[in-house]
């Protein structure tokens, strides 16, 4: 098979759907796991960072506090020393010699002391220690009253510290512990102890030295003005040049701190790097200690911790993503490929080379994906094989359905068996009614000689075929050489060259048993799959055989039925014709052929128009008949008159559309039905009603007319006229009465309740009486001829008189005004025959058979030669028959002769005799 274009397409993966993608779902699960982890890590990181910050700040503050405390103590002690010294009398009295040892002792005991001096009340330096070469400049005698601390000293009695400044005496940065000197409320000047700020700084430098330079550790002591009183920063000369500078030069934000009595921690950028400051006030002097260190260095641990945390987190995420990527590439992608491949299986032909290569690559993998790919490859092979089987079975089904010739179908089935199972020899063995044995109905690959001789008798129970049929399941011989049941067929198997054989019974129901038999040249055990497949073939073969058989039977039945229908339609009294849409006759029956004066052969295929034309040639009024047919074509039915064999007949024509069983129009049908007899009956019915109405109403009309005439009060009639009217009324009443009697008689006759009371009667007297009572009366036209030896007759005189009177009246009425009315009687065998004749126009031959029927009148419609209900002859026949006699019309050349017979001996059961 040529690859279809779709095969060259690369594997078409399923449309990406985030909800259904395993990769995305795994990623989502991973994210679910990792995101809280990241959140928690960041949270703890933040927590730890804050904690570490706090720790660093606390350490700074603690240090600042320690320094502050120590400085506080140290400065406090200077204030104490100043107070004590200020209390000395020598100092108070400003006795230089006395002060000198005191000052010296102090300076010697406290190395920080830079200068001890005494100002008088006017701010003039009285004395300072040390002197001479120990100081840069002696300032004795100089006025220091401009100093702020001097101004302050004049206002207080308590010792205090001055602002930091450069001492002019020692040319060093100092701060002075000042003790105002008061004697009896009089200001006597002050005692000052200059404390070298460098000395303070030295202590701070020692503290700072404990820290690395990277920490950028600085400690400042600032006074309330923000001036740096002591600094851990060593100046170039080692004397702290930065002393007495303002801390705002470091960072303006620090300006708010001096003078504050609160402990504060700040993070400020100083000279391009973040610096962490801790400030603690020194309460004794309202100074403060400012500890600063590089934030970077201080937070070095924190940063290291955070870096480690972030690194770990990044590693987790990256590892996760890498894992997902690997999973995606190694598992999900191949799975998707396999899914796409599997979707393709069984559709649109074989896979393309790319797809197959992909599958092969995957199948080489040792892992589960490889296993899946291998399974898929195997499944594909299985499915392809199965589809091949199905395809073959489908072809077989088509073959079964394609023809009703079972031999062709069986040959095709065997060809498919050979193709699908690769067998070289196979056969369908079925019961043959004629040969009374199982024979090969069809075979393939078998030698003709073998196939011909493959005849299995009904009793050959060692035959595998027969056994399989009896067991009604497939049976096999895997090896004819070793199977003990195969001894009988072994020679044949060797001769034909097969070693294994399988027989599958066909599930036939309406046809004789049969089996599909397959032969292999080698020993072979048939697998369940093979047996299943062959069973399917066997089913198809059974279907083919049964179809053919059933069709043959149904065809016979159909033909039989068609023959019957044909016979029925051909024998119909109605003429029938079926035409196609073009007006060609498809079918017409014998009656139609007769009507059109054509042979059956001429009819078929003829034009309907030609046939109708031939029929209408018989119509007395062809134009009217054609109009009627046109009407029938529209309305369905019409009536057409035809003169056939000299007789006028009426035909009802029905024209109708003919459809087949599915409602598809085939053409039109025509049925010509002879309704002459029906019309005759209708006419007679109408005539009967008209007759009875007329006969009853005419006397009634006269009676009513004359009665109303007599009753009318606008005219007075002569008595003569009145009598005449009454006479007419009387006559008409009699006439009515007679008619009613006739009707009653007839009703008795027809109902079988007529009573006959026979008695010997004199015919001559009876004739005379009948003639006398007749209306109209024959008068002298009556001729009676009776033989003298006429035997007596037994009959009911009332009935026979009615018979005679009716016949005489008819003869008078229909014979014409001049015709004689002859009545004669003769004995014929045991019957007396009476004849009543006239010489009138006679009864037309076509009416003769009907004249004795009730209400039958020779004329019809409203024209009437003579009055009469048409009951007379019917009543006559009824009475005569009731006596056991007969009545008939005797043919005459001229005139009419009605004869009736009466038995001379009365019948035994003459009292009641049904008509």
């Amino acid at each position: 098979m040529a690859p279809s274009p779709s095969c060259t397409r690369p594997l078409r993966r399923r449309r990406f759907n985030p909800q259904r993608d395993l990769g995305i779902r795994l990623l989502a699960i991973y994210a679910l796991f990792v995101l809280p982890l990241v959140g928690m890590t960041l949270y703890f990181d933040r927590l730890a960072t804050e904690r570490l910050h706090a720790d660093v700040e606390n350490a700074n503050l603690a240090l600042a506090k320690a320094i502050a405390e120590e400085t506080n103590l140290s400065l406090g002690s200077f204030l104490g020393a100043a107070r004590r010294l200020g209390a000395e009398p020598a100092v108070l009295q400003a006795s230089v010699p006395a002060m000198q040892p005191l000052f010296e002792a102090l300076a010697k005991s406290r190395p920080e002391v830079n200068l001890v001096y005494r100002l008088n009340a006017k701010g003039i330096m009285l004395y300072h220690y040390p002197q001479g070469s120990d100081v840069a400049w002696s300032t004795i005698g100089l006025d220091f009253s401009f100093r702020p601390y001097f101004q302050k000293a004049r206002t207080t009695h308590l010792p205090f510290f001055s602002q930091g400044r450069i001492s002019p005496t020692t040319n060093q940065p100092v701060v002075t512990a000042v003790m105002p000197l008061w004697v009896n409320g009089e200001f006597r000047g002050l005692l000052g102890i200059n404390i070298s700020l460098n000395a303070l700084s030295l202590a701070l430098q020692q503290i700072a030295a404990a820290h690395t330079s990277a920490e950028n550790f600085t400690v400042f002591i600032v006074d309330s003005g923000g001036n740096i009183v002591a600094s851990s920063l060593p100046g170039p000369s080692g004397k702290g040049e930065s002393l007495l500078g303002n801390i705002t030069t470091l960072a303006p934000a620090l300006g708010g701190l001096p003078g504050s009595d609160r402990t504060e921690a700040l993070l400020l950028p100083v000279k391009g790097q973040d610096t962490l400051y801790a400030y603690t006030p020194i309460p004794a002097v309202k100074w403060g200690v400012l500890v600063g260190r590089s934030a970077e260095a201080a937070f070095n641990t924190v940063s290291a911790f955070r870096r480690a945390t972030h690194l770990a987190l990044a590693l987790v995420i990256v590892a996760g993503l890498l894992f997902w990527l690997a999973l995606s590439r190694q598992v999900l992608g191949p799975l998707e490929d396999l899914a796409a491949y599997s979707r393709h299986i069984g559709r649109e032909g074989p896979h393309g080379a790319d797809e197959r290569a992909t599958l092969e690559t995957l199948a080489e993998r040792p892992d589960q994906v490889g296993h899946l790919a291998r399974t898929l490859r195997r499944m594909e092979t299985d499915i392809t094989a199965r589809m091949q089987e199905l395809h073959t079975l489908l072809e077989t089904s088509a073959a079964v359905a394609s023809t009703l010739d079972s031999r062709t179908v069986l040959a095709r089935i065997l060809a498919q068996v050979e193709r699908l199972l690769g067998v070289q020899k196979c056969a369908i063995i079925a019961w043959d009614e004629q040969r009374q044995a199982f024979v090969a109905q069809a075979s393939r690959g078998l030698s003709p000689r073998y196939a011909e001789r493959l005849v299995i008798g009904r009793d050959e129970f060692n035959s595998l075929t027969l056994r399989a049929l009896q067991a009604n399941r497939p049976l096999q011989i895997s090896d004819t050489e070793t199977d003990p049941t195969a001894t009988a067929i072994r020679p044949r198997a060797r001769a034909e060259g097969y070693r294994s054989v399988l027989a599958v019974p066909l599930p036939t129901q309406h046809t004789p048993p049969a089996a599909l038999v397959v032969y292999y040249p080698e020993p072979h055990t048939f697998t369940p799959q093979e047996i299943d497949l062959l069973t399917s073939f066997a089913n198809h073969a059974a279907m083919a055989i049964e179809n053919a058989a059933l069709f043959a039977r149904s065809d016979e039945r159909l033909q039989e039925q068609t023959r019957r229908l044909e016979a029925l339609v051909q024998s119909m009294g109605d003429a029938l014709l079926l035409e196609d849409h073009k007006g060609q006759v498809l079918y017409a029956n014998r009656r139609m052929a007769a009507l059109a004066d054509l042979s059956a052969e001429d009819l078929s295929g003829a034009e309907t128009e030609r046939i109708v034309q031939r029929i209408l040639n018989h119509a007395p009024n062809a134009a009217a008949a054609r109009a009627a047919l046109a009407h029938a074509a529209e309305e369905g039915t019409a009536e057409v008159d035809l003169r056939l064999h000299g007789r006028l007949t009426t035909w009802q024509v029905q024209i109708f559309a003919v459809t087949d069983s599915r409602g598809v129009a085939i053409g039109h049908g025509q049925i010509w039905q002879d309704i002459t007899a029906n019309r005759e009956i209708d006419r007679m019915k109408a005539s009967l009603i008209s007759t009875v109405s007329h006969e009853l109403r005419t006397p009634l009309a006269a009676i009513k007319g004359y009665v109303s005439t007599l009753l009318a009060d606008d005219v007075t009639w002569e008595p003569e006229a009145q009598r005449e009217f009454l006479l007419t009324i009387s006559e008409e009443t009699d006439r009515l009465s007679d008619l009613v009697s006739d009707l009653l008689d007839l009703s008795r006759i027809e109902g079988g309740s007529l009573k006959v009371q026979p008695e010997p009667l004199d015919l001559e007297t009876l004739i005379a009486r009948a003639a006398r009572n007749a209306h109209p009366a024959p008068g002298n036209r009556l001729e009676v001829h009776l033989p003298a030896d006429l035997p007596p007759v037994f009959a009911d005189p009332r009935h026979i008189e009615v018979v005679l009177r009716n016949l005489i009246e008819n003869a008078v009425k229909y014979g014409g005004e001049t015709s004689p009315v002859r009545v004669s009687a003769t004995q014929e065998n045991t019957y007396l025959v009476v004849r009543v004749e006239d010489e009138g126009p006679g009864i037309p031959p076509e009416h003769v058979p009907h004249v004795f029927e009730s209400f039958y009148r020779v004329e019809s419609g409203l024209t009437r030669q003579a009055s009469g209900a048409g009951l007379g002859l019917a009543i006559c026949r009824g009475f005569v028959k009731a006596h056991g006699g007969k009545i008939w019309v005797e043919p005459r050349a001229r005139g009419t002769c009605i004869a009736f017979s009466l038995p001379l001996t009365p019948p035994n059961d003459s009292d009641t005799s049904p008509l």
């Binding site: 008209s690 109405s693 005419t698 009634l700 009309a701 009513k704 007319g705 409203l862």
Partner: protein, 231 residues
């Protein structure tokens, strides 16, 4: 109201009935001519100036229907049919051929005289002086004085009853006239139930005046009610 001595031709094969009619009409001042069958009737009709024919339907030689048909070839003389046949079909047949009225046997003398007078009244029909002698409704023109009807100038031959019917309908152009009203106004107050008369007469009028009698333009049937004239 009655013209002096109208001549009535009575045709019946039954002597008793013929005599009954003859005697009654005679005594009431009509001149009566009798005939015993159709052929006789046609002969007598030719021989006398007949104002009214009373005709039995069932007669020997030539039935009543044929007599009507032949009379109608030349004459609009009023015809009353007598018959024992009471079926509507027969009545309609007779009316269709041109009979003006129908009496079913048996009948009393009063009924006979009433019908005779009604038919003669219709035949004599004199227009009242207040009314215009000529009715014009579209192309239909009815001249009462000259007893003439023309459609688009083409004369139409109508029997007296047909004329009276058309006149009544034209007088009430556009109005739907119930069966009973038409019968009482045209045939006479003693009528009212004879719807089949109307069917026949409207049919006959349509045949005579309608361009297409199957799709009437002037005479419309108002189903279940009556008829109307529309110009």
């Amino acid at each position: 109201m009655e013209a002096p001595h109208p001549t009535v031709l009575v045709v019946d094969d039954a002597k008793s009935l013929r005599e009954f009619v003859r005697r009654n009409l005679d005594v009431r001042g009509y001149r009566v001519v009798t005939a015993v069958n159709g052929a006789d009737a046609l002969e007598k009709f030719q021989a006398h100036k007949i104002d009214l024919v009373i005709l039995d339907l069932i007669m020997p030689q030539m039935d009543g229907l044929e007599v009507i048909q032949r009379l109608r070839l030349h004459s609009n003389v009023p015809i009353i049919v007598l018959s024992a046949l009471g079926e509507e079909n027969t009545k309609i047949q007779a009316l269709n051929r041109g009979a003006d009225d129908y009496l079913t046997k048996p009948f009393g003398v009063g009924e006979l005289l009433a019908r005779v007078q009604a038919v003669l009244r219709r035949a004599r029909h004199t227009p009242s002086t207040q009314e215009s002698p000529v009715l014009v409704r579209g192309p239909v023109v009815l001249d009462r004085e000259r007893h003439e009807v023309t459609i688009e100038g083409r004369p139409v031959n109508l029997t007296p009853t047909e004329f009276s019917l058309l006149e009544y309908l034209m007088q009430n152009t556009g109005k739907v006239l119930p069966h009973r009203a038409i019968l009482q106004n045209v045939w006479g107050p003693e009528y009212g139930q004879e719807a089949e008369y109307l069917r026949v007469y409207i049919g006959r009028l349509r045949q005579k005046i309608e361009p297409d009698p199957n799709n009437p333009r002037y005479l419309r049937t108002e189903r279940g009610v009556g008829y109307s004239f529309n110009a």
